[in-house]
Symmetry: C2
Subunit: 161 residues, 2 copies
C-alpha cells in the first residue's frame, strides 16, 4: 500500500512526491497540503503541476510534528521555520539555532509542569487551589501558547470558605 508497489514512484530521484513524503513522515497527504497552504512547507511544481519536495522537507515535517507534540501552535512553528533559508537545504547550524530557541521554551514548560506536579496534590487536597496565594494559580509564565480561555487562572477566593 505504500512505497514498494510497482506504481509511479519517483524512485531514484532526489526529489520526493507528496505521497512519498506522506509515507516516510507518517503525515497524511491532506496535512501536507494544509501545511503548504499555511506556509510551513514549500515545494517545486513539475510541468504537470505536481509537487516535488527537496529531501530536507522530511526534517521540516519532523520538526513540525515534534513541536506540535509539545503543544506549540502551527503559527509559532511557521515563524520558527521562517528563519531557515528557503532557497537551499538548511545546514546543521541552521537547525541548531532553531532547536536551541525551542529549548528555552521547553525548559519553561517543563518547569511549569514540575511545579504543577509538585503542588497539585497538596493544593487540591487542602483547598488552596482556589486561593490567590497558590502557586498553581499564578500565571507567571511567558510561554504565550497556553490553552484557550483567559490567561489568568483564578483570582480570588473571597473571605468565606
Amino acid at each position: 500500500m505504500v512505497a514498494p508497489t510497482p506504481g509511479p514512484v519517483a524512485g531514484d530521484h532526489d526529489e520526493l512526491t507528496v505521497g512519498e513524503v506522506a509515507a516516510r513522515s507518517g503525515v497524511a497527504v491532506s496535512a501536507l497540503h494544509f501545511y503548504e497552504r499555511e506556509g510551513l512547507l514549500t515545494s517545486r511544481r513539475t510541468s504537470g503541476n505536481q509537487r516535488r519536495y527537496r529531501r530536507d522537507v522530511l526534517r521540516r515535517v519532523a520538526f513540525i510534528r515534534v513541536s506540535q507534540r509539545v503543544g506549540i501552535p502551527l503559527a509559532a512553528i511557521r515563524e520558527a521555520l521562517a528563519s531557515l533559508p528557503d532557497d537551499r537545504t538548511p545546514t546543521a547550524r541552521d537547525w541548531y539555532a532553531l532547536s536551541a530557541a525551542w529549548r528555552e521554551d521547553l525548559d519553561a514548560r517543563i518547569e511549569q509542569m514540575q511545579r504543577l506536579r509538585d503542588h497539585l496534590t497538596d493544593c487540591i487536597g487542602c483547598g488552596c487551589l482556589s486561593l490567590r496565594r497558590c502557586r498553581l494559580t499564578n500565571p507567571d509564565d511567558a510561554l504565550g501558547a497556553e490553552g484557550p480561555g483567559p490567561r489568568r487562572l483564578l483570582v480570588d477566593d473571597g473571605p468565606g470558605e
Copy 2:
C-alpha cells in the same frame, strides 16, 4: 464590577450564583454553562430556573483549569471528576485520590518533554530526527491525550540521505 456592587448578589448564602462563580474563578459565565452542558459541573436550580452552585464548585473549576493547562482534554477531565461524589461536598480524601491519578499522567508528560528537550538539538542538528532509531520519534508513551493527527510520528527514512 465584581462582588461589592449593591446589585443582586447571593451575599451571605452559602450557595453561589453563576456570576459569582465566574468572578471568583476567572472563568466566563458562558464557559460555566458550557462545562455544565458537558457534564463537568452540576447545579441546583431555583424556583425561577436560575443556577445555584455549592461552594465546592470553585474547586472543581480550579481543577478543570489546571488540568486543561497541562493539555488534558475536557472529556478526560469529565471522567476524572465523575469519580467525585455528586451528592455531597467532596472530602480532602476524594480530591487526593483524584490528583494522585493526575500525578502519574503528569510524570509521564514531564519525562517525555525532558527526553524531547535532551535530544532535540542533537537530533535535529544531526538529521536523526527523521531516522527510525531516533528516540524522539518513538511514540512509546501511553498518555492518550496527544495532539491531533496520527499517533506515530515518523516511521522510516529509507536508504538514502
